[in-house]
């Protein structure tokens, strides 16, 4: 079968379709992502970028086509869904930290509850992750006491605490003030350099050019063009891609 994953293909999407009522948000989207690859998805708003990556951990349900994550087919089976979710971290535009828990509790909750990790062990991991994203001193504060950039870095640490194989980023810098975007992008770039498989929906073209292995351009629910950053920024094929790039660059 064509949708069978090869050994190092960690995400396989084949002809994925998704409707919201009568509106078709995704039209036969196919994408294969290698382990350790960084794929950036760009496109105008409403083009289905977010919907696409939200299908990969089943925050949205796709209605046709196949999605296989790390060899696990994404079906209605709750066990498969939970297994895929525990191997897939996600970072949201609005951070979605838990406001009633401290930063440390935000990070340790899932490892303790889902992975059944011991509390002190989970806290040690959380502190080393906070060190990695550069804000160990904020461990005992509540999310509401942090700046947007700090909150997003906590959100990244929270996802990493589950030791995911894949990280999904859904416009991670779009809700941030301009001066805070860089601190989040730096963390993401460092994460990419450690070999994490990443799918990133973003409007940050600098990041895409520098960090992405491949760029995916989506428009109207379709994947229009896939290629290396070099290909994209010098030699885009599609008219719609050229138009989009000319508008934002």
């Amino acid at each position: 079968m064509s949708e069978e994953a090869t050994a190092d293909e960690i995400i396989v999407c084949q002809d994925v379709c998704k409707w919201f009522g009568d509106f078709q948000a995704l039209k036969n989207c196919s994408l294969r992502v290698q382990a350790q690859e960084v794929v950036v998805i760009i496109g105008p708003s409403g083009s289905g970028k977010s919907t696409f990556i939200r299908c990969i951990n089943r925050l949205e349900e796709h209605q046709a086509g196949d999605i296989i994550v790390d060899g696990i087919p994404l079906t209605r089976d709750v066990r498969n869904i939970e297994q895929i979710r525990s191997e897939t971290g996600m970072v949201f535009q609005q951070f979605n930290l838990f406001p009633h828990l401290t930063v440390l509790e935000n990070i340790t909750l899932a490892p303790i509850q889902v992975r059944k990790m011991r509390k002190d062990e989970a806290q040690d991991t959380a502190m080393s992750l906070l060190n990695r994203v550069g804000i160990p001193e904020q461990a005992d504060k509540y999310p509401g006491q942090l700046s947007g950039g700090q909150q997003q870095r906590v959100a990244i640490a929270r996802s990493l605490a589950m030791s995911p194989k894949i990280m999904l980023f859904d416009e991670p810098t779009s809700a941030l003030d301009p001066e805070m975007i860089k601190e989040v992008l730096d963390v993401m770039q460092e994460l990419a350099e450690t070999g994490m498989t990443m799918l990133v929906v973003t409007h940050e073209m600098g990041f895409a050019r520098e960090v992405a292995d491949r760029i995916v351009f989506m428009d109207g629910g379709e994947i229009m063009e896939v290629g290396t950053p070099e290909h994209f920024f010098t030699n885009a094929q599609h008219d719609r891609t050229k138009l989009f790039l000319s508008q934002i660059l």
Binding site: F92, F98, Q113, G144
Partner: protein, 406 residues
Amino acid sequence: MTSAADANSDRSVLPITERYTLIGWVRRNLFSDTLNSLLTLAALAFLFIVASNLLRWAFVTAEWGVIPANFNLIMRGQYPATEAWRLWLVIYLLGAVVGSSWRLLSGKFSGAARLLIAIPFVLMLIPFFSMATRLNLVITAAASAAGFFITGYLPIQRRGRTAAYLLLAYLVVMLILLQGVGAEEGPMPPVAPILWGGLLLSLLLAFFGITLSFPLGVALALGRQSKLPAIRVMSVIYIEFIRGVPLISLLFMGQVMLQLFLPDGFPLVDRVLRALVAITLFSAAYTAENVRGGLQSISRGQYEAANALGLSTYQSTIHIILPQALRAVIPVLVGQFISLFKDTTLVALVGIFDLLGIARTILANPDWLGTQQEVYAIIAVLFWIFSYSMSYASRRLEQRLGVGQR
């Protein structure tokens, strides 16, 4: 907000002699122009008439003798006097448990803790109390202080959990003490709940009504949001049915119809217990709707973040959704619990002697004809004290839990 700011800015431009003096304040706020002066005088006259009549009634006309004469009845109904020591034991233990949990949950001997220990001493000022009562109050204060300080020396790890277990154990011990065990001639003969009365019964009905209806209401609220149609429909039917009938009709149904639904010889024969069931079922439906309001205030992002981390539905409900939803509805829930406490007076209409029922028996006694004003005033004061304490406690709880809120 703006008016306060205006007043502040005004104050800074006033001549220095008028800024902080009482006369200056009065002139500015009460007599700033003719209309204000007239309004001030009219309000003063009205207050004077009301206050003088009230004070004349309270200190001259009123026959307060009815209260000391029936004090035991108001406090504990027909609970036998020979067994009153059990009630005092329940109160001592309450003092000890409150002191101990205070140490566990707050850790500090703060102003509020002093206030709590001061309550028994304030009660001692009530003029007609006997020496025995005063001694009992001192023991209660000592028990709460002892609970606080002894707990400080115990090596306890999980403080919140210990406090919860302590409370649970207290409830069991309290019920055993009130109900009694063993034979009629034994040291603790059984006292049927129908003999419990007065303030004791009102507080018990409210307390158990609240603690039993709360989990039921939360479960119903979650059930109403369930993806399983059977659970959702059953929750909706239950909530809408209960909310559609008055509490008094449920109380009557509890008295006359409950046995139709129960097997013969089912132990739920006591009328007080039947009333408690009716109150609990009634309150649960309202709790469910209030909690649902809190659930709806949780943004979709919270559910998504919990899902994306791999938390199961149960885990995200317990750790993410409910803590935030309940926190958001504390003021509404406390308001509902206060009204439940006051609604317990309706049990007087089905022949149960709570505070209001006791008031009616006192007034039916020929010795105390014409003392309605005094008796009802005292009942109102008692209800006010407990309702206000609940509302005060809820405000403190909100402040404590409000840390780091958005």
